[in-house]
Symmetry: C2
């Protein structure tokens, strides 16, 4: 459970867990009690039961808990010695083991809470009495199996989850947001709109973009490539694997090993799929001597990168085995760093506007001197670089939060943070100043005076990891992507077979103007076709019949505004082309 | 040496190798003789010598050989028993070992050639007398180290190479072509024009495209993506690695294992970098049921693929550890296969025209029933599919050569063959019919009658492997890429500092029209700038001075035609834009 949610909520959630156990014991007097913590938005409790239970039991438990709440049951805390507790609970295998574990862990005493006839091992805190709990502000949400101590060799317990807030209104808001999040879940929408699929034979965390999903990605790539080129970025192509030596020199192997793939040995040489593209771009920089006049050099690549994740953590387009970062590395002179940093932030702000992302904030992500393993050990450089970044941020008058232990191993970051549909914070884009690798790779340029100097490097992801950004946008728009990103931008629906030919003519006209258009001549009713088109979130349905044919028009149905009435075909083409060009 | 070159040439080359040994022995009486075969265009011979020799020795050897040729030395063959030969050559460690090896290999007797005072172990054939050798039709070309028996644990011998033909004219032509090939070598041009680089830290066979080289690739990708989209291809993105299971099911593991990378085990699951993209596209096809009305489905992807090569065979952009295939898989009904095949060939012909490739021919690549390991074992399907492909090719009235043992493991191919600058045959593009994988993957569609059917698949590469195609084009154009593919399309050269401002104005005008333009305001003479621009193969140099500024014009220097004289700036923009758009 997050610190922000406050003490009172924690008390309520612990207490509800306690009451739930009482309700369970009324049904299963011999129920064993596993762990039962308060968590974000609620609580859970594990039970060793003689049988599996289903979610059908939950309303019954809820009713029982509500009854107890109304009885104003008091919770009283008392401590107990280990010996006494072990004797008292010797028949309860879970509790006995927990008590032993707590002793091993060096706890001095045990805390119990008692209410009415039930006593439970719990550190708390609890409310003083159920008076403090709103009986309409909690809900039991699901039952799931959970191994005792999380070990699959152990017995499977029954875990019951609940959500709980201080007020009924908060619960209602939470449930509403949850329902909305579920509706917007990009994994669900991805299936409904046929945007991406997974294959068991290919593997977890390795999505395949369908032709429709690929259009979204292609449009994003085209947009950012053109925009970056306009802003003086140079596109490059670098290999997505390299000799291990490269990452030993860069420091990835020392600081980032756990996220890297196993080595691939070819003819006695160790290769590895690249965790990041930075050292590759540095090899391009180092391929010939550089003059101060050439800088800044802005190498950009939509770079395939590989990150080993726990297979249980792989999810949709967000946690992947391999992804494509809209990456760039700006090699610049110290006197250029401020302007380049500012320009990157401007580009990101522009992208955000184009992508319709309004709710975001900046996070200044710093190192943690205590975390020796994660960061390059150079305290002076850390202090200097963080000071530099802070000065730039302050000069730009950006509002930002500071976060410790969130830096890259080679330098501090400015992250662009968003809330996802689940209300959770996520990093979408990032800008970093690297004080570390230019020296490691002996990167240099010759300055005005003919002296060799070490450049500075900015690492940045302008629209982030393209798969994650797609997921974020799908959720933000609930699948109804802006016209320029829509796989199908318009669908023509003839009201009967007679008008298929006219429909085809309209289709040709639109295709000529590079509008992505379909003609729906399925053997279905008009109503069904319209519903289907709306389900598919197609921005415009163009219904054509006799009237439209005579007038050279289409009857336009807007995804959001509904029926717009008839429109001359040329007029409609103008309208949709403008929306595509302006990305609105 | 190739069979086509004929017996007489083989005799000449063996004989020259023999004469060269005589010339060497005159200098090093104790020279040991290693192998000395006739090879394509010439011959070589390995020598165990008391010292390393340099190419400075070659003219001296040539002179000696010529003298011998003019003496009309006779070559006489005779056989010898192993025992006698071993006794005779017991002091020569190389010859002794070769004799023993030949015995082990089951040879019945040994063949020697004698001429004058020298006898050599050689199967021949040789010319009867040096009268048959034109003393001006051979040349010794280089000296290189070579391990005895190719094993680096053995002693290093000195290998002397020569080229030899029947006539002086042929030698001259060959040397001329070699010089031209060297001049056009994409590895050399790649360096001169800064198109791609290699890095020891990244590894062999893993090129990095510089910003300039990346422009060529980007333009090729843009061209083919747009062209394919116009022709009804659907773009997809699929992962570049997958579970080993996938390739076991496809048959790659059984038939193609030696070219695949070592396995990558993540959390107990074996993954492998993909050798080909076909099974990935089939997983997309299989992600939902298909109706006959959906076919043909043409999945296209510029697909990164990995092929393990011997590190000694890696070369430039041609033999790589990983490459990007302009790939597609057309899933179609049997009644669609002919049209789809024809359309693919038409697309390829169109691409060839755009890329300026004029000298190509078709190869109908068939299986070899004897090569059990390489091909799917289904003789009936092979016969049927090869018959089908032959019928289509004949119907299209295409001229083609037939080649055995050149098919894919899953079906026959029609390859587009070209000659590279070295005069060697290469496959640039390919179209294949697959009778094998649709069944293995249980791919299906529902036909008009509601019955489940198995589709057919065409695999094709429309502009081949993009890196190789780049290499081929760089060599074809000797670096002077057509305007649309040129990294820098025009360079503005002000004749003095005074006209930099005017140059900048011209630059802005060109940039606005998306022309890739540079302004050269280096502190150099005009002559040097022009020479440098021509060396860089920039299509147009725009020289601007007082006259041009006054007239609102540029003095155009064409890469091929030289000075075109002054041209109104707008006129030049029109001209270059037309060339870019029409890809001429």
């Amino acid at each position: 459970m997050s610190k922000k949610e406050g003490l009172q909520l924690e008390k309520i959630r612990h207490s509800l867990s306690h009451l739930m156990s009482m309700a369970i014991i009324k049904i299963y007097p011999d129920a064993g009690l596993g762990v039962g913590p308060a968590i974000e938005n609620g609580f859970y409790q594990d039970y060793g039961l003689p049988e599996s239970i289903s979610s059908e039991l939950l309303p019954k438990l809820e009713k029982e808990i509500k009854k107890m709440i109304l009885k104003n049951i008091k919770f009283e805390q008392h401590d107990m010695s280990f010996d006494k507790a072990l004797k008292l609970y010797k028949k309860d295998p879970y509790k006995s083991e927990m008590i032993k574990d707590l002793k091993k862990a060096g706890e001095k005493k045990l805390s119990f809470y008692r209410s009415d006839w039930f006593e439970n091992l719990c550190k708390g805190p609890h409310v003083a009495s159920t008076k403090e709990i709103d009986p309409d502000a909690f809900k039991l949400t699901k039952v799931a199996g959970a191994y005792w101590k999380g070990d699959e060799k152990n017995k499977m317990l029954q875990r019951v989850y609940g959500v709980a807030f201080e007020t009924k209104k908060e619960l209602y808001q939470y449930l509403k947001q949850q329902a909305e999040a579920e509706k917007r879940d990009h994994r669900k929408i991805g299936k409904e709109l046929d945007l991406f699929v997974f294959s068991d034979l290919i593997g977890k965390g390795l999505p395949l973009l369908t032709p429709k999903g690929s259009i979204i990605r292609q449009e994003l790539e085209k947009f950012i490539t053109e925009e970056e080129t306009k802003r003086g970025y140079l596109r490059v192509y670098t290999p997505d694997l390299a000799r291990l030596e490269l990452y030993k020199k860069s420091g990835h192997w020392q600081h980032y090993k756990e996220s890297m793939y196993p080595l691939i040995n070819v003819d006695g040489e160790d290769y590895v799929l690249r965790p990041m593209a930075c050292p590759h771009h540095f090899m391009l920089y180092n391929s010939r001597p550089r003059s101060y006049r050439e800088l800044p050099l802005r190498y950009a690549e939509i770079a395939r990168q590989y990150r080993k994740e726990q297979s249980g953590e792989l999810s949709g387009l967000i946690r992947l085995m391999a992804f494509s970062l809209v990456d760039a590395h700006l090699v610049c002179r110290p006197d250029q760093i401020e302007k380049e940093f500012k320009d990157v932030l401007e580009l990101i702000q522009y992208n955000m506007k184009i992508l319709g992302i309004k709710d975001y904030w900046y996070r200044f992500s710093k190192w943690d001197p205590k975390n020796k393993k994660k960061y390059t050990n150079n305290p002076k450089a850390w202090q200097k670089t963080e000071k530099l970044m802070k000065e730039i941020l302050d000069k730009l008058k950006l509002k930002y939060v500071e976060a410790e232990d969130e830096a890259a191993f080679y330098g501090p970051k400015t992250d662009v943070q968003v809330k996802n549909v689940n209300g959770k914070e996520d990093t979408l884009f990032t800008v970093q100043i690297d004080f570390d690798m230019p020296g490691k790779f002996d990167m240099s340029y010759i300055d005005e005076k003919g002296k060799k100097q070490t450049p500075m490097v900015i690492h940045r992801a302008s629209i982030g990891c393209i798969e994650r950004t797609m997921a974020f946008l799908i959720e933000q728009y609930a699948g109804a992507m802006p016209v320029w990103l829509s796989p199908v931008q318009a669908q023509i629906i003839p009201i009967s077979e007679k008008f298929i030919k006219y429909g085809e003519k309209i289709k040709e006209m639109l295709l000529k103007e590079d509008v992505r258009v379909e003609l729906n001549n399925d053997n279905e009713t008009l109503g069904k076709k319209i519903r289907e088109g709306e389900m598919q979130k197609i921005p415009y349905l163009l219904i054509v019949g006799e009237k439209e044919q005579k007038a050279g028009s289409v009857a336009v149905r807007d995804r959001e505004k509904g029926d717009l009435g008839p429109m001359k075909t040329n007029k409609f083409i103008e309208k949709i082309k403008e929306e595509i060009e302006k990305k609105i």
